[in-house]
Symmetry: C3
Amino acid sequence: MNMNMNMNDFIQDKNRISIQQEQEGKSKFPKNQWYVVGLSKELKDNLISRKVLNIPLIIFRNVEGKAVALEDRCCHRGMPLSSGTLENGQIRCGYHGLLYDGYGHCVEVPGQDRIPAKAKVKSYFLIEKQGIIWFWYSFDTEPNISDVPDYPYHEHPDYLYDGDVYHYQAPYQLIHDNLMDLSHLAYVHLKTIGGNAKIHMNAEMKVVQNEDQVIVKRHMFDSDPPPTYAMAYPFKSKIDRWQEIDFRVSHIRIWTGGIDAGSDSLENPDRNGFNMRGFHGITPETDETCHYFWTMATNPKQDRENIANVVIEQTRLTFDEDKIVIEDQFKNLKQFESTDMVGIHIDVGLVRARRMIESLI
Amino acid sequence: MNMNMNMNDFIQDKNRISIQQEQEGKSKFPKNQWYVVGLSKELKDNLISRKVLNIPLIIFRNVEGKAVALEDRCCHRGMPLSSGTLENGQIRCGYHGLLYDGYGHCVEVPGQDRIPAKAKVKSYFLIEKQGIIWFWYSFDTEPNISDVPDYPYHEHPDYLYDGDVYHYQAPYQLIHDNLMDLSHLAYVHLKTIGGNAKIHMNAEMKVVQNEDQVIVKRHMFDSDPPPTYAMAYPFKSKIDRWQEIDFRVSHIRIWTGGIDAGSDSLENPDRNGFNMRGFHGITPETDETCHYFWTMATNPKQDRENIANVVIEQTRLTFDEDKIVIEDQFKNLKQFESTDMVGIHIDVGLVRARRMIESLI
Amino acid sequence: MNMNMNMNDFIQDKNRISIQQEQEGKSKFPKNQWYVVGLSKELKDNLISRKVLNIPLIIFRNVEGKAVALEDRCCHRGMPLSSGTLENGQIRCGYHGLLYDGYGHCVEVPGQDRIPAKAKVKSYFLIEKQGIIWFWYSFDTEPNISDVPDYPYHEHPDYLYDGDVYHYQAPYQLIHDNLMDLSHLAYVHLKTIGGNAKIHMNAEMKVVQNEDQVIVKRHMFDSDPPPTYAMAYPFKSKIDRWQEIDFRVSHIRIWTGGIDAGSDSLENPDRNGFNMRGFHGITPETDETCHYFWTMATNPKQDRENIANVVIEQTRLTFDEDKIVIEDQFKNLKQFESTDMVGIHIDVGLVRARRMIESLI
Ligand code: FES
Ligand code: FES
Ligand code: FES
């Protein structure tokens, strides 16, 4: 685990604290959460310019190689710092050359010896852990590192994973809605992992909930393995399948897979068999747009690299299809004043997830 | 004549009636009118997604082949139904598969036996007649089929016709303005049917009006036939020409043509000679955009198909030119706060047409 | 010097006067100023459609060849006159053919003998002088021709010049800011005329001000001539350099150059040596956009055409770079609510220029 900055240093930084107070009370998004702001694979010796939760950020690695985020606005005349250049873990503005360190403090004003006390930009608290870069979103509460979500399948020896970042022209909750219901697979994903609509729709669904999670489970026994499964895993014959959705405010975990019929209890979270473990970090960009950070981890037994690649690429195709549907849905919703929606049985998960978000805003 | 649905069935449909009450009092467009919503040639076994009068519609043929229109918004989670698929005269939503009939009633919820009572979408009343699909726009008044406009030149044995649908980045009344004045031909249509500006501008113009129509007539005697006329019709020598505009709220009919000089009274509406009968259905899409449905019917004596095609294609060119002018005009009007306009003699028709619209809003 | 129209005729024109009263009190821009509206080289026998100070204009040469400006909106139905055609110094509307003279009076209505008294469009007062077309912007004050700025380097026998017109997606004051500080050269213009950042930033800077001007001067003695200078002028060895910015509300003059070290006082405005005299006319288009009219005049001793071209083209490259930076800056500023800016030493010129503008609005 790779922690950014010393926690005490950071919390005592007056710059950061005053920022948070200034914005108090304005959010439309759940506060006091760790949100995904990037994947480690995106951030090498480059700059990332990314707006999250209505805050334009520049993300880069500081002199120690740790991921840091500053407000993307030079304190001098407002240039985006992301148009500047990285100099050994510090960022130089491309207009008049002010140089900032990873805390957002100006450390050089060309042609001027004294650095004005106010010459700094807001900095934000990041933690990079298991290939995911998390961003602490709060107005008044200090971050607790032990609350950073743990995602072991990015460092589990049996698993291989990869992923990507999608930008959505749709608000984040429409992606929640989509992921909380696996039955749309039958219609949206006809060309990839979709199957017989009736079987998907009719499988028994259990929903459980606690303070931080909504869990939707569907188990289908004694089925034929679908083609992707058969390709990826040496099943003997019929299989028991699971689809399990674990909703949290900042991200959703979706476990799907199958095991030789009757060979283990599907209630065992460490059950064997073929596993597809999807991570879905969904972070608002603005009120009407969001970022979608996904990874797919799988545990092939043989020909591991190849099979993992195939599973990941098939996953990507379904996400591409979802993106078209969801953006289309949002565009349409905006055409109508009415927000009436008629509920059906598959909505139970999304209704609970929306209720949880609602309670936090 | 091909009537959609049984009138009594339709009127008693609670779904439809409640819709109309909900919207009451919001319109910026003349109510209790049949507007053109499509040409029959557009609608085969396809879906049309079209917004008219600020209402997003999906238009398709129901199981009996009759044109129907539903609000383009799935009652479940708001997907455009026009992203779905047509299944034997019913429309299936592309997200979770709800199936709707031509009345907008949900007839299937995949994976669920009971169909919720509220699972339906608004439906609208269409009549398809003589190649034109008409849409009843009202908040409180039931449609009267006998009020659907009659347009016999789409089924007259002497006439051939064709047409098209244009989308305009301009409000519908700017097209009215354009069509109510034939004198712009001289300037806008230099390359096609335009002629000597002075002759057009100076011909005597008569305007008559009743409750539902504004009629502008211009007759020009003993003229040379313009090239298109000479090509299309075996005139002996000089001709008497007419230009007659018949404005109605939902559409405009423009009759132009010529006859051997002195061979008939131009007051005879069934006069012989070369006739170009233009139908112009202009339906608001939004406050700032509209649809323009046009057809051109003509009565060549010989080489009928060829000559009709030439006349229709020359007509198309003039409409293409008008579109550029009108969209340009609208873009410019939006730049200015002032709406002052100075009237000139040719405006008499458009002023009356605007007054009629005004009285209906 | 080429004066447009007779001043008395113009001032007594009721049309123009009433316009100005109508708009009274609405401006966000300094009033009672001559602004640049075009370069003479742009206006031959063509129309220019250009919005300045939120006023859409059509600019053309009247029957006497003098530059005139009318509001770009036909008084009949609002078509842009700039879609019309120029007929011997008069402009004919492309819709119904109204013809206007250079004063904005309608002089012909096709098909109608009487011209309505109201048939005219607003006209504005232009002066063309030394290759620059100036526009009088006022609501209540009559223009004084003797106030039109004098720019002798467009007609000086030792100088050659050329220039261009850029459209900026940024408000005019961001260009002022940019030009009032020459030190950004070091960062923005790395590839062209930029030099060592420290030398630029550390040179002593003097700022003087009077009622109409802010002047910023920087002199650098006994330097090596930069490559452009050495190419353009036969220096003996070391040179004394100057950078002088003369800000006025409507335009900025920037003199840079060098002379053999010690051979003349840099305080002499007519000093010899290599001169680059930049003219920068910056005219608001809207609150968020502007026009930038620039010329570069230089005085090569030998191979005059070639060297002038090289100097002008190198200048163009730096302006292209500035445009990217400034538009980027503006886009970023719009993302943030806060308008806080931290001042540094190089801001002294821009602060005074902004204060002068502020005092005039
Ligand atoms: S705007 Fe960043 S240094 Fe001036
Ligand atoms: S949105 Fe149409 S079925 Fe769910
Ligand atoms: S709009 Fe210019 S002449 Fe009619």
